[in-house]
Structure formats: C-alpha cells, structure tokens
Amino acid sequence: MLKKKITVKNKLGLHARAAVKFVNLASRFGSSVKIEKDGAEIDGKSILGILTLAAVQGSQITLKVAGNDEEKALKALVTLITNKFQEKE
C-alpha cells in the first residue's frame, strides 16, 4: 500500500465538481483508494464519502492506495490535486 500526505490547494477545496473529477479518475484504477482526514477515513471512489470529509482549501489529507496499479493511481490522483483540479481560479 502507498501513502501520501497532501494539502488541498484549490480555492474551493474538494467541492462537488472536484469530487466528481476525483472519483472518475480513481475509478479508472483497480487499486482501492482511501482518503484520510483528521482521523476519518473514507472510500475515495465514493462521492458522498468525499463530500462528507468537507475538505476545504488548506486541508491536509492522506491518500492510501493499494493494488496492482497503485503507483500509477497515486501519481495520477496526486497530480490532479496539485494541479488544483484544473480549475480556473
């Protein structure tokens, strides 16, 4: 399993639109994706889970990816977050 701590940098945090992008990307990989924030862990392929995290701008989250394509998956998801979900700010 791979773990990576990352800060949510985009203005609106993991809001609905960003969550849609995250889930769509995560679902492309076979690996399981979990997100941990403040001790709560949710399924990264569930939009409801992501929304209930209420990760606003500046939140620290930890991605936990496990499976055959875990490296690829983690890299892609981290890129999505660091690129601020390609949002025009």
Partner: protein, 587 residues
C-alpha cells in the same frame, strides 16, 4: 381531499389552477413495514430495478441539459450519477433490508436520515448544502420504487410544481420544458434565482410557504395566486369559480397592459419620456421589450457570480453581456458593475463578516479592493460594446477619488485590449449610481467626471432617512415623498440637466405612478424599473400633461410633509387629468 389555504410570498404575478406535481419532497416514510424473510430477495430486486430506472433518467436528463443549457448545468447530474453508483450507499440499503426484514422504502428513509445527520454536522456551509444532492438522488429512487409510469407523467402533462426547495439548475430544467403552470415552494424569497426565472418566464410563483411540500400530495388540485401570494389546496367549486373570474380579470388586465406597451411614450402635451427595464437575467430582455421597455436601464450583474461556486471568468461575463447587448439592440443597455458584499456575500469572495454590512465593504468599494476581479468585468463589458449600445454603471460611489480610480483602471483595461487588438466602443459612456447621500450632495462636482448618472432611490432613501425599511419598527419612516428626499432628488436631476448630462432614476420610485409623476415634474425623462411595472407607468405618464405636472410639483415642494405632498399632487393632477391614476387592478 381536504380544502385549505396557505400564505406565502408572491414572487411572480398571475394565477393558475392545476394538479400538483411534487418534486423531491420529504416523502420518506417514517413507518417500518416488515416483510417475511423469503421476500427479502424480491425486495432487493425491486430496489435494484428502481436504481436502474433512476440511472436511466439521470443519464437522459444529463444529456438533455448538456445540449440545451451547456455543461455548467449538466455537471450536477453527473454528481448525482456518482452518488447513485456509490458502493457504500448500496451496502447500506442491503444491510438494512436484510438485517431488519423490511421494505426498501424504509432502507431509503434510514439512509436519508444517516446522510442528513452527517451533512448537517459539517461546519462548512458549502459542504453542508450538499445534503440536497443526496436527498435528490434518494427521492428519485424512492419515487421509482412506486410506479413505472411516473416518468411519462413527469414530462407530458401541465402541472403545478410543488417542492421543498428548487435548486437553480433544477429550476432551469423544469421551467424550460414549458409545461409548468405555476410554482409553489417551501423555501425562498423575492430574489431567489427561481423567483427571478419564474417572473421572466411568466410562470406564477409563490415561495416561502414553509411546508406545502409536506401538506399536499401528487394529484391534489391547487390554485396558485402569485399576485397575492396565496395557495388554495383542493378548492371547492364556489372558490374555483371565484378564482376563474379572478384569473380572467388578471388576464384581461395583462392584455390591456400589453396594448399600452405598444403605444408611444409621450405625455398629453407630447413630451417624450423613456421607460427602461431593471433586469437580473439575460432571459428577461425579451419580456422587458414586449412590455414596452426602450432599453435595459439596469442590468444587475450579480447573477453571474451566483451561477457557480467558482469565480466567473472573462468569458462567462462576456457571453452574458454580448447576449443582452445583441437582444436589446438598438436599445441601450446599462451594465452595472457588481454590487456584491454587504448582504449579498458569497463564500468565494472571501469577505469577512461585518457588523454593519449596509455601511461596509460592498459594490465599488469591494471592486476597488479586488481590482483583478473588477478588471475582468470591465474587460468583458468593453468587449461586449461593439454594437455601441452598452454603457457602464458604477454602484455606490461615495467620493470623487473613487471615480478617478475607476477611470484610471478603465483606461488601463482599454489600453490592454488595444495592445491585444481587440475591438470595442471607444466612446462607451461611463456613469455612476447616486445612492450615497454624500455623493448626492456633490452631484455638481461628480457630474463633471462622468457621462451620465443614475439615481438608485431605494438605497438613497434608506441612507438619507437613516431607515432600514425591512425593520418593522421603523419602516413607517421610509417615505419616498419626504420633502427632504424630494429636495435631494430634485437637486440631482436639475444639476445633471444643467450640465447637459443624461439622468435616469432606477429605484422603486420610478415604478410607482405617483412618485413617477413627481419625478416627471422635476424634469426626469428616463424611468428604469422592474419590467412588469412599465405598462402602468407608461399609462400614468401618457395620461398627464408635462406642463401641468411641472406646475403642480413646483407648488408641492413648498409643503411640509410627505402626506401633504401626496394629497396635494393627487388632488391637483386628478382635477386636471381624471384618468391619471386609473390603473385598474395593480399587479
């Protein structure tokens, strides 16, 4: 079927009678209906089918909306589809049905409770509001458990839409189909997006009904009186008849107004006046013109910011402005730069909570703090000015320094466009709103710096009289005809005219027949108002003689109280023009 009445806020005038179609609605059962263990498999299949139907509907809606209104709106249904596919949701359902030997309805109800609590416990408002999305999805599955044919009913027949709350995206979808007779909603106020949309599409609407979505069922008969803000559920025959006649009266009145809309805007002694429209949405342009508007006197650009949770881009602004400019052409369009802040705050603007928002960081004060945001808007307005019918209007000016700063920025933006070889109207007029008494008192100085001015009487009166009109304890003091208000307004209008500059009034005073006549007496020719009031103002001004009004108003200015002025003007005008205030039923 029980007969009862409910009161709300009428936000879109008109009357309609029809059958209820509940959308969303808090229909989740509070009864746990048990089933025998062998039935569990069948129940799971029933749920699975409902989920499949839901998936089909959502996919279809998503595509339709994408086609009709663009990706901005269809995205919400993509989120709904993802919610529907959520594994944890499905395992919740299964666990409850199997574990408690109960119907699928109960499982949905439990899941709803769970997510409701979860989302309500969040401290961030945006995320807390996502509750409505999960509710929407669960309600859709719930409905699909019941009948297979619901979908058809949804789309075909004309219905009265009843809902707890209508999201802007939903409202756009539902109203664009053209089969909604009227709307009745638990939540909302005068300025909610749904209300504005209903008004512009001529659909009667009553909001703020608290719990109508729980009190009526699909198939109930409803009268929606958007004029008086009343709802009548399952009316007996006698009341139905009464309302049919009221509806006829209203429709006749409407027809009469439309006729007025086509007549020329001249007083009896042929002095030309110009009715203009205040609008908030591009969809309103058509309606405004059909009601007799000879231009858009005020486009409130705030709605562009309310559309999404991120900040609008230059392209977002531009597409709206150019659309309005095109549709209104050759008539002028006054685009007011954003009046946000104060009570109209949005999370993405990051404005701190203020103890005194009416006196705080709003409108131009906000724009001059966040200059980048302001420049984006100015650029978009300039780009939309090619037809030469666009003007820029700056709200809430307090002092000359602000005007100078705006002009400097404006120049910068123009240069920027020029170096990019983007064409625009070089002579685009720049004007300011007079809403702050301090600005009113220096009209003679301000006017030299701008091309035109526009008086926002609502704010001006509140600030000048130090009265919050929404405060029931002091609202009686809010009097547009207070001699001090009239003196101030007269000074502004006369000063502008002396300098040969254009002057418009765009507050509610312009929409009230008596006040409008007084303004005409001061020499005002441009009246900008909510489009639905244009016909009645036209009618009032067409039925008077400018020179009589001028004389009467001059005399009225020597009186001491608002009441004396009101009585005097009405009496004298009626003596000469008995038809001046004959408006029939006023909307």
């Amino acid at each position: 079927m029980d007969y009862f009445r409910l009161r709300g806020i009428g936000v879109s005038p008109g009357i309609a009678i029809g059958e209820v179609l509940l959308t969303e609605g808090v229909i989740f059962t509070d009864r746990k209906e048990r089933i025998a263990p062998p039935q569990v498999e069948g129940e799971l299949r029933r749920l699975k089918k409902a989920i499949e139907r839901t998936r089909g509907q959502l996919t279809r809606i998503k595509e339709q909306i994408k086609e009709k209104m663009g990706e901005e709106y269809s995205f919400i249904f993509e989120a709904h589809l993802l919610i529907l596919e959520g594994k944890s949701l499905h395992s919740d359902f299964e666990r409850i049905i199997k574990g408690e030997n109960c119907r699928a309805e109960w499982a949905l109800s439990r899941a709803y409770d769970k997510y409701k609590k979860l989302f309500e416990s969040l401290s961030d408002e945006y995320f807390r509001e996502r509750k409505s999305d999960i509710t929407d999805v669960l309600a859709r599955i719930y409905r699909n458990l019941e009948s297979v044919d619901q979908k058809k009913e949804d789309e075909g027949k004309e219905k009265i839409l009843v809902s707890h709350e209508l999201l802007p995206s939903e409202a756009a979808v539902k109203l664009s189909k053209g089969n909604v007779l009227a709307i009745a909603i638990d939540m909302g106020g005068q300025t909610s997006h749904t209300a504005i949309l209903a008004r512009s599409l001529n659909v009667p609407a009553v909001v703020g009904l608290h719990n109508i979505s729980q009190k009526v069922k699909n198939g109930d008969t409803l009268i929606v009186d958007g004029t008086d803000g009343e709802i009548i559920v399952n009316p007996p025959l006698a009341i139905r008849k009464e309302f049919f006649s009221k509806k006829k009266k209203y429709d006749d009145y409407r027809k009469e107004l439309r006729k007025t809309a086509k007549l020329s805007s001249l007083t009896l002694d042929e002095v030309r006046f110009i009715p203009l429209a205040n609008i908030e949405l591009p969809e309103e342009v058509d309606l405004a013109l059909s009601l007799g508007a000879e231009g858009i006197g005020l486009f409130r650009s705030e709605f562009i910011y309310l559309q999404s949770t991120s900040l609008p881009t230059e392209k977002d602004h531009f597409s709206i402005y150019s659309r309005i400019a095109k549709e209104a052409y050759p008539h002028p369009v006054y685009i007011r730069t954003v009046d946000l802040g104060g009570e109209k705050n949005l999370p993405q603007l990051k404005i701190e909570k203020e103890p005194n928002p009416a006196l705080g960081l709003r409108a131009i004060r906000f724009s001059l703090r966040d200059k980048d945001l302001f420049k984006v808007q100015l650029k978009a307005i300039l780009r939309a000015s090619l037809l030469k019918n666009v003007r820029i209007l700056i709200p809430m000016i307090t002092e000359i320094e602000e005007v100078l700063e705006v002009k400097l920025l404006f120049q910068e933006v123009k240069e920027e466009l020029k170096t990019k070889r983007i064409k625009f109207d070089e002579n685009i007029p720049l004007g300011v709103m007079i809403e702050v008494p301090a600005a009113a008192a220096i009209t003679d100085l301000l006017i030299k710096e701008v091309d035109y001015i526009s008086i926002g009487t609502n704010d001006l009166i509140q600030y000048y009289l130090a009265v919050d009109r929404s405060n029931e304890f002091v609202s009686y003091l809010y009097k547009p005809l207070h001699p001090s208000v009239l003196r101030l307004v007269k000074f502004i209008i006369e000063t502008a005219q002396r300098e040969g500059k254009e002057i418009t009034v765009c507050g509610e005073m312009a929409a009230d027949p008596l006040s409008a006549i007084v303004l005409l007496g001061f020499g005002l020719k441009k009246f900008s108002m909510n489009p639905i009031f244009i016909p009645r103002i036209k009618k009032a001004l067409r039925s008077v003689e400018y020179k009589t009004v001028k004389r009467v108003v001059q005399k009225a200015m020597t009186l001491r109280t608002a009441q004396e002025i009101e009585e005097y003007v009405i009496e004298k005008i009626l003596a000469k023009h008995p038809k001046a205030f004959l408006m029939g039923q006023v909307i």
